[in-house]
C-alpha cells in the first residue's frame, strides 16, 4: 500500500451550510425593507442604518480584542478580518445592527443608533459570552434600553417622506439628508388615543408613520417568505404568533386585520421572534413561544399603557425560552422511558 487512507468518523458529507449563510439570509430578506425605508423616510434612513451597523461591528471588534488574552493591536483591516479571536466577519453584528436600525424612528438624532448598537452588542450579547449565548434578542434589548432612556426621541414619529419637496429644495448639505418633516402618529397610537382607524391599504403598503423597518407589511412578508423558503426559520413561530393575535383581537371585539398589519407585529414575527439564538429549539416549544408572544402582544396593545407591545412581549418570552426548552425537550427520552415501563 503506497497511499495512506484517511480514517475519520461518519458522516462524511455535509450540506454545505454555515453560520454565515444564516446571517446573510437575513440580509437578503431585509433588502425589501431597506428599500421601503428609504422610499418612505428619505435618505436619512440610510444614515441611521449605516451608523447602527458600523457601530455594532466596531463594538464587537473592540470587545473581542479586549477579551482575547495577549492580543496585540494592529490597526490593519486585514488583521481584523483574519484574526481567529475577532469574529466580526460571521455577520451576526451586521444583523444585530440592521435589526436595531429597523426598530428606530426615522428622524432620530445621529448618536442614538450609535448608543443603541453599543448597548446591543456589549450588554445584549458579549456580556453573556458572545454569539449563541445571549438570552435576549440584542436588537430588542437595545430598543427597550433606548425607549427607557430617551422616550421623547424614540416616540417622535413623522409622516412619510415628501420626495417632491426634497427635489425642489436641495441646496445645502443638511437638506440633502433630511427635510423638516411633518410629525405624525403611528396607527396604533391613533387608535389608542383618538380611536381613528387607518385604511388597510396604507397599513399594508407602508404609507404611515412608524419605525424604519416596520412600516410596510408587504416588504416584511416578502422577506419572511424568503426566510421560510431558505429554511432559516420554520413556520411554527410566525403562524402561531399571528394566529394568536388574530384570534385574541377578534375575541376582544377589535379589528383583527388592523392589529395584524399595524405596528411592528410583522417585523417582530418574522425577524425578531424567530431569531434562532433566543427562540426555543423544539417544535412544540416554538409553538408555545409563538402563542405566548401573541397573548402578551394583544394584552399590552389593548390594556397596557403603551400603544405597541411587540418588542416587550418578545423580550418576555425570550426570558422564558430556557424553561420552555427544558419542559418540551427530550420527547425521545420520554418515549424510551415509556417503552422500558411497557417491557418490564
Amino acid at each position: 500500500m503506497s497511499n495512506r487512507l484517511i480514517v475519520a468518523t461518519p458522516p462524511y458529507i455535509k450540506n454545505g451550510e454555515t453560520n454565515h449563510c444564516l446571517m446573510f439570509d437575513v440580509w437578503v430578506a431585509a433588502l425589501p425593507m431597506i428599500l421601503t425605508a428609504i422610499y418612505f423616510f428619505g435618505p436619512y434612513s440610510l444614515v441611521v442604518i449605516f451608523l447602527s451597523i458600523f457601530s455594532a461591528i466596531a463594538t464587537e471588534a473592540v470587545i473581542q480584542m479586549l477579551k482575547a488574552p495577549g492580543y496585540q493591536f494592529r490597526p490593519f483591516l486585514y488583521s481584523l478580518l483574519t484574526n481567529e479571536k475577532i469574529t466580526i466577519m460571521d455577520g451576526s453584528a451586521l444583523v444585530t445592527g440592521l435589526l436595531l436600525a429597523f426598530n428606530l424612528p426615522p428622524q432620530v438624532p445621529f448618536w442614538l443608533p450609535v448608543v443603541g448598537s453599543v448597548v446591543a452588542i456589549s450588554l445584549g450579547k458579549q456580556v453573556f459570552g458572545g454569539l449563541g449565548q445571549n438570552i435576549f434578542n440584542p436588537a430588542l434589548f437595545a430598543r427597550a434600553f433606548l425607549v427607557a432612556a430617551w422616550p421623547a426621541h424614540m416616540t417622535s414619529w413623522v409622516a412619510p417622506f415628501d420626495w417632491n419637496r426634497w427635489l425642489n429644495q436641495i441646496s445645502s448639505a443638511r437638506s440633502l439628508w433630511m427635510i423638516d418633516a411633518v410629525s405624525s402618529a403611528t396607527p396604533l397610537a391613533l387608535m389608542k388615543q383618538q380611536g381613528t382607524a387607518t385604511p388597510y391599504l396604507d397599513l399594508f403598503l407602508g404609507n404611515i408613520g412608524g419605525c424604519l423597518g416596520e412600516v410596510s407589511a408587504l416588504a416584511v412578508l416578502i422577506g419572511g417568505a424568503y426566510l421560510l423558503y431558505k429554511g432559516t426559520i420554520t413556520w411554527h413561530i410566525p403562524v402561531t404568533y399571528l394566529g394568536t393575535v388574530v384570534i385574541l383581537s377578534t375575541l376582544f371585539g377589535r379589528d383583527p386585520l388592523f392589529h395584524l398589519f399595524s405596528g411592528g407585529l410583522m417585523l417582530g414575527t418574522f425577524f425578531m421572534a424567530t431569531d434562532v439564538v433566543t427562540s426555543p429549539v423544539t417544535k412544540p416549544g416554538r409553538i408555545f413561544f409563538g402563542i405566548g408572544c401573541g397573548v402578551l402582544t394583544v394584552l399590552i396593545r389593548l390594556f397596557g399603557s403603551f400603544p405597541e407591545g411587540v418588542s416587550y412581549s418578545i423580550l418576555l418570552m425570550n426570558a422564558c425560552t430556557p424553561l420552555i426548552d427544558r419542559y418540551t425537550g427530550g420527547a425521545g427520552l420520554r418515549r424510551q422511558t415509556l417503552g422500558a415501563l411497557k417491557t418490564s
Binding site: N3, P11, G231, V281, G329, K342
Partner: protein, 433 residues
C-alpha cells in the same frame, strides 16, 4: 467564498439520493476473487471454532468453522474453492483484528456445495444456523414476538442495495419472510418502503399476492438500520394491535438468504452490495462473495487503488472508514464507498468552514429521528459531563449522523456522540447509580 456570500441555493435538510447507482439493471456478479478473507469472529472477544488448517483444500460452500456459542452457533462456510493460505488475525471492516481464514482461489469456478441438513430439520432453525445467516436467534426463539418488521427504506444516500434486493428478488424476500414466520410461529410481518418508490411497491405487491399476514407499509421518510425501534413504533401506532416490545426488525439482505437456505439448500456465501463514490468510475450494485477484499471489488469497478483517499464500508452517513483496502466484505456489509477527495488541513481551510459556536438554530433537533436534543447533549459531552448527557438521552442516539450533516456551525456532533458513548458510558453509568 462559498458559504460567505448569500446564495439562493436552498440547502438540503436530508442528503439527496445519488442517482448514479440506479437499480434498473441486475446486480453485476463478481464471483471469482483471487483470494477471500473470511472472519470467524465478530469481535476479538467472541468465541469461534476453526475446522481447517493452512494448506487444506476447500470447496465453495464447505463448512470451515463455527462462530458464537451454542445453542445459537452459526456455521462459517468457504465462499470460493481453493487452498487455505493461513488462519490468522486479519482486519475486519468493523475496525477490529479478528481470527480469519484466508483462502486462495484455485482459479476455476465451482458450484456451491449444498447444505445437508439432518432429516426432519429441513424447515427448522437448525437450517438457518447451518447456513450461517446472522439473525437475533435468541429473541426469535424466545416466543415473545408477534411482529417482524423489515426496513426496506434506504437511509444512506449513496447506497441503493435495499431497493436493488427488493426489485430483483421480491419473491425471495417474501418467501424468506414467510419461512421465518413459519419457523418461529410469528403471526404477522410488516415491510416498510418509501412511499415514493412506486416501482418497488408494485414489485412487492405482485410477490405478496398469495401471502397471508404480511403488510406493506409505505412510510414518508427513510429510517436508518439502527433506528428500527422508532420505525416499529411509527408503524404500530396505526393500530395493528401489537406493542413495540413484541416486534423485531429483520435485516432485508438476510431474507433472500433464508429463502435460499431453505428451498435451494445453499449457505449464505454471497450478497448484493453497492459500490459507489468519487473513486469509482462505474458505480453500481454487485453480487459478491462474502470475504472478498474491498480493494479487489473497487479495482473490478474501475477504481484506482493508488489514488483513493478514503474507503468506507457502508454509506456516507453511517459508514465505517477503513484503514486498509484489504478488509473483507462480511454478511452485514451493505456497500463500499471509495472516495478521492481533496482533504485540506485546518490551516488551509476557509474560516467559514471551521467549527463555530452553536447558534441554537434547531436544525439538528428538527432532523433527529429519535427526537432528542443533539445540541444540548453535544454541549454536555464537550464538557465531559457524561451523567447529564446520558440523562438527556445520549444512549437513545442511533448514530444516524443527520445532525452533523445539517449543522451550520459545523460542530461534529456525530463524532462527539460516538466518542462520548465509548468514553463516558461507564463513568456516567457509575455516577448515575
Amino acid at each position: 467564498m462559498d458559504g460567505f456570500l448569500p446564495t439562493f441555493i436552498r440547502r438540503k435538510q436530508t442528503p439527496p439520493r445519488s442517482r448514479e447507482t440506479a437499480f434498473d439493471q441486475p446486480a453485476l456478479p463478481f464471483l471469482s476473487p483471487s483470494r477471500v478473507v473470511i472472519p470467524l469472529q465478530e469481535t476479538p472477544q467472541s468465541s469461534y471454532r476453526c475446522l481447517v488448517k493452512a494448506r487444506d483444500e476447500v470447496k465453495a460452500g464447505q463448512k470451515i468453522g463455527d462462530r458464537g456459542d451454542p445453542p445459537f452457533q452459526l456455521s462459517v462456510h468457504a465462499t470460493i474453492s481453493g487452498r487455505v493460505q493461513e488462519v490468522d488475525s486479519h482486519p475486519s471492516p468493523h475496525g477490529y483484528h479478528v481470527a480469519s481464514v484466508v483462502i486462495e482461489s484455485s482459479g476455476h469456478e465451482d458450484v456451491i456445495e449444498k447444505l445437508s441438513p439432518k432429516p426432519g430439520a429441513e424447515e427448522k432453525m437448525e437450517v438457518l444456523l447451518e447456513a450461517g445467516i446472522p439473525l437475533d436467534y435468541k429473541k426469535l426463539a424466545g416466543n415473545q414476538l408477534d411482529t417482524l418488521l423489515v426496513n426496506g427504506t434506504e437511509f444512506e444516500p449513496t447506497l441503493t442495495v435495499h431497493h436493488q434486493i427488493i426489485w430483483e428478488m421480491a419473491s425471495q424476500v417474501v418467501g424468506g419472510l414467510q419461512a421465518l414466520m413459519k419457523i418461529f410461529s410469528i403471526p404477522q410481518a410488516v415491510i416498510c418502503l418509501e412511499g415514493g418508490e412506486a416501482r418497488l411497491i408494485r414489485a412487492l405487491e405482485e410477490a405478496l399476492k398469495d401471502s397471508k399476514g404480511i403488510l406493506l407499509h409505505p412510510v414518508s421518510k427513510s429510517y436508518p438500520p439502527t433506528g428500527e425501534l422508532v420505525l416499529i413504533e411509527k408503524v404500530l401506532k396505526k393500530g395493528n394491535g401489537s406493542s413495540s416490545a413484541r416486534a423485531m426488525g429483520v435485516e432485508i439482505a438476510s431474507l433472500p438468504a433464508v429463502y435460499q437456505a431453505i428451498y435451494q439448500r445453499t449457505p449464505f456465501v454471497e450478497r448484493t452490495i453497492t459500490v459507489s463514490g468519487s473513486g469509482v468510475p462505474h458505480p453500481r450494485n454487485m453480487k459478491v462473495r462474502v470475504g472478498t477484499p474491498f480493494g479487489e471489488i473497487i479495482s473490478q469497478c474501475g477504481g484506482d487503488l493508488e489514488n483513493l483517499t478514503q474507503i468506507i464500508m457502508g454509506g456516507a452517513l453511517m459508514g465505517i472508514s477503513q484503514p486498509t483496502s484489504q478488509a473483507p466484505v462480511t454478511q452485514r456489509t451493505t456497500g463500499i464507498l471509495a472516495l478521492v477527495s481533496l482533504n485540506l488541513t485546518r490551516g488551509h481551510q476557509s474560516r467559514m468552514y471551521q467549527e463555530g459556536p452553536c447558534v441554537r438554530c434547531a436544525k439538528c433537533v428538527d432532523r433527529c429521528p429519535v427526537s432528542i436534543l443533539p445540541n444540548v447533549i453535544g454541549a454536555y459531552c464537550r464538557k465531559n459531563r457524561f451523567a447529564e448527557a446520558i440523562e438527556k438521552g445520549l444512549f437513545v442516539c442511533i448514530d444516524c449522523g443527520l445532525c452533523s450533516y445539517v449543522c451550520p456551525a459545523r460542530i461534529p456532533l456525530g463524532e462527539i456522540f460516538k466518542e462520548a458513548k465509548s468514553r463516558g458510558g461507564f463513568r456516567g453509568r457509575e455516577e448515575n447509580t
